[in-house]
């Protein structure tokens, strides 16, 4: 930790305002999803705690709003803020886990393709090419239409579209690294391939992935929201921010805007924070731009 605090990266972070804003937004969300459920008064999915009398209350600053419900309530008397806290947990969990899964799968395939080359390489990379020619939202939408709803299925769909970018980057760097002396030396000294890949190549191909991984969490949160909005993402029992927007869309035309507008604002805020951090990391970690 001390080493990190003294590092060049941390130094430029302290002097970069947008990076600090991004980090603050992300930190705020992490706090919100970890302790938020204990801070909000209501568990929006415990039917016993819902008061139908309190349905469709506007936000507190509008006429008819009550202090108990800061951002208003929906048709079942659910506190919009409480729903957002619970929904952010699901959205962030899916975005982050899907990123980890894509990263592991993509890096593994990229290492194999780059290190062994040959048929394995061409098969993996052709699949990657074909997938890249199709927008990820469409592929994910199509996969979900076959799988049916569920957070686990959303994860599978996101990982199936997300691995490609890691595989391509890792394959490229693995090809370069394999030519270098230290890998040749490890080969000559008779180390098994598995060890060369994991101990020597892997640590040297990871850095470029950090930027992609950061931004991908944001992209995944947006794709998940789109899928859930279309009704093929998470089920109604695990409403993410996207599903909250969908539920609010039905009553938007009656002027009840707060049910859908606030969840969307929170999506925008978290993805914006993540993107600010991603931009900062890209500028810092890319030696070409320095």
């Amino acid at each position: 930790m001390k080493r990190f605090a003294a590092s060049e990266l941390f130094h430029s972070f302290r002097h970069n305002r947008s990076a600090m804003i991004g980090a603050a937004i992300v930190a705020m969300f992490v706090v919100m999803v970890s302790i938020g459920p204990w801070l909000v008064a209501q568990d929006p999915y415990d039917v016993a705690q819902l008061e139908l009398m309190d349905s469709f209350k506007p936000p507190v600053w509008l006429e008819g709003g009550v202090p108990q419900y800061l951002l208003g309530t929906d048709g079942q008397g659910r506190d919009v803020l409480a729903s957002i806290v619970y929904g952010s947990r699901i959205s962030l969990f899916i975005g982050f886990t899907a990123m980890l899964g894509s990263c592991v799968l993509g890096a593994a395939l990229g290492l194999l393709a780059g290190f062994y080359g040959g048929k394995l390489d061409s098969v993996i990379m052709r699949i990657a090419d074909i997938q890249l020619s199709f927008p990820s939202v469409l592929t994910a939408l199509f996969l979900m239409s076959a799988f049916g709803t569920g957070a686990d299925k959303v994860l599978i769909a996101l990982i199936s579209v997300g691995w490609v970018v890691y595989a391509r980057i890792v394959r490229g760097s693995t090809l370069r690294e394999s030519q270098k002396e230290y890998v040749q030396a490890a080969r000559v000294s008779g180390l098994p391939n598995r060890k060369i890949i994991l101990r020597h190549v892997l640590p040297n191909v990871l850095t470029p992935l950090i930027v992609v991984a950061t931004i991908q969490v944001g992209t995944f949160i947006l794709i998940e929201a789109s899928l859930s909005f279309l009704g093929v993402g998470v089920p109604i029992t695990e409403p993410s921010l996207g599903l909250l927007i969908k539920n609010g869309f039905d009553v938007l035309f009656s002027g009840l805007w707060w049910i859908s507008v606030f969840p969307g604002l929170f999506i925008m805020l978290i993805v914006f924070g993540i993107n600010l951090l991603g931009d900062f990391l890209r500028d810092e970690l890319n030696p070409r731009l320095k």
Partner: protein, 321 residues
């Protein structure tokens, strides 16, 4: 050049074949379509007969064979819901989608080019930072949510434009378009605007990055040194060279627009192929989903093919391999 053409054509066929395999595999995941086809009170016997007629008792390989041969023959099956050829449904709705996609692309280009050039030419100015922050917000917001906000503000509150649907259409070169009449245009503007925001935001960033790269080149310094006026340098020497890499991402952006059109069309009840896809997914209308995917895949490979050729034509430094 000829060798390159044939190689790319073979590649296109391979991609389409791969998509057909993928579509087939995924479709066999979605369960038994027999129940979509038979009446609710069908007997066991009728169901079994329907399964036989649909060829569902054959092995997967044989089924795929049938599927592929009908695709090649141009027989894409009939919609379970509309009882019409699925391809016809797609083609009927295609002009509506192309209309918002093309208008969205036009809006994105018209707004993004000056902003991107400006932000790239003087990156340290406060206004350039504002442009970049704005484009980052554009990338970060869910487009469908923005569409809802626009509907609320402009259709529900201000009542300037209608909230959904496509207005009256006119015939233009055999296609039904709606931008020719004022009423049609009023229906068109919000969906196109919503769809354009994501692309617009990304375009600004790409153009800015390219401009920053180009502005460092010697020919820009030379043009400045010889006293060419600033706007001329920016747009004639700078932008022209910054646009070349933009051609390569054009195909990708068209793809994204078509993909996000599914969401935009759903929100605005716009009768295009995206809404057709979403509706068909709800109804389990398998043939329509298959045709949509095959059709869109075909469109993408063709666009990318054209883009690659264009790229080689525009930039003579790139030798076609």
């Amino acid at each position: 050049m000829f060798g390159y053409f044939t190689k790319r054509l073979i590649q296109i066929v391979v991609v389409l074949w791969a998509v057909s395999v993928l579509v087939f595999v995924m479709m066999s995941f979605t369960g038994d379509p027999t129940y979509m086809m038979v009446p609710l009170d069908a007997t066991e016997e009728q169901i079994a007969q329907a399964r036989r007629l649909l060829g569902l008792n054959d092995s997967h390989l044989v089924q795929y064979g049938h599927f592929l041969s009908s695709l090649v023959r141009g027989d894409f099956g009939r919609s379970f819901v509309f009882r019409q050829p699925a391809m016809q449904l797609i083609l009927e709705r295609l002009p509506a989608t192309l209309e918002i996609v093309i208008l969205a692309m036009a809006i994105a280009l018209v707004v993004a080019i000056p902003l991107g050039v400006y932000a790239g030419a003087s990156p340290e100015r406060a206004s350039s930072h504002a442009v970049m922050a704005g484009s980052l917000v554009g990338i970060s917001l869910p487009g469908f949510w923005l569409g809802m906000v626009l509907i609320y503000v402009f259709a529900v509150k201000l009542q300037l434009v209608p909230s959904s649907g496509r207005g009256p259409t006119q015939e233009l070169f055999g296609l039904r378009v709606s931008f020719l009449s004022w009423e049609g245009f009023r229906h068109l503007i919000l969906p196109a605007l919503t769809l354009s925001v994501g692309t617009l935001a990304i375009l600004i960033r790409i153009i800015r990055a390219e401009m920053m790269e180009v502005m460092k080149q010697d020919y820009i310094k030379f043009a400045r040194a010889k006293g060419a006026d600033r706007r001329g340098v920016l747009f004639k020497h700078g932008l022209k060279n910054a646009l070349i890499p933009l051609v390569t991402v054009f195909g990708l952006m068209m793809g994204d627009l078509i993909a996000f059109a599914t969401l935009t069309e759903t929100i605005f009840a716009w009768p295009g192929i995206g809404k057709l896809l979403v509706d068909s997914i709800y109804r389990g209308d398998r043939p329509v989903i298959v045709v949509y995917l095959m059709f869109v895949a075909f469109m993408f490979v063709v666009v990318n093919f054209v883009v690659d050729i264009l790229y080689a034509v525009i930039d003579p430094r790139i030798k076609v391999k």
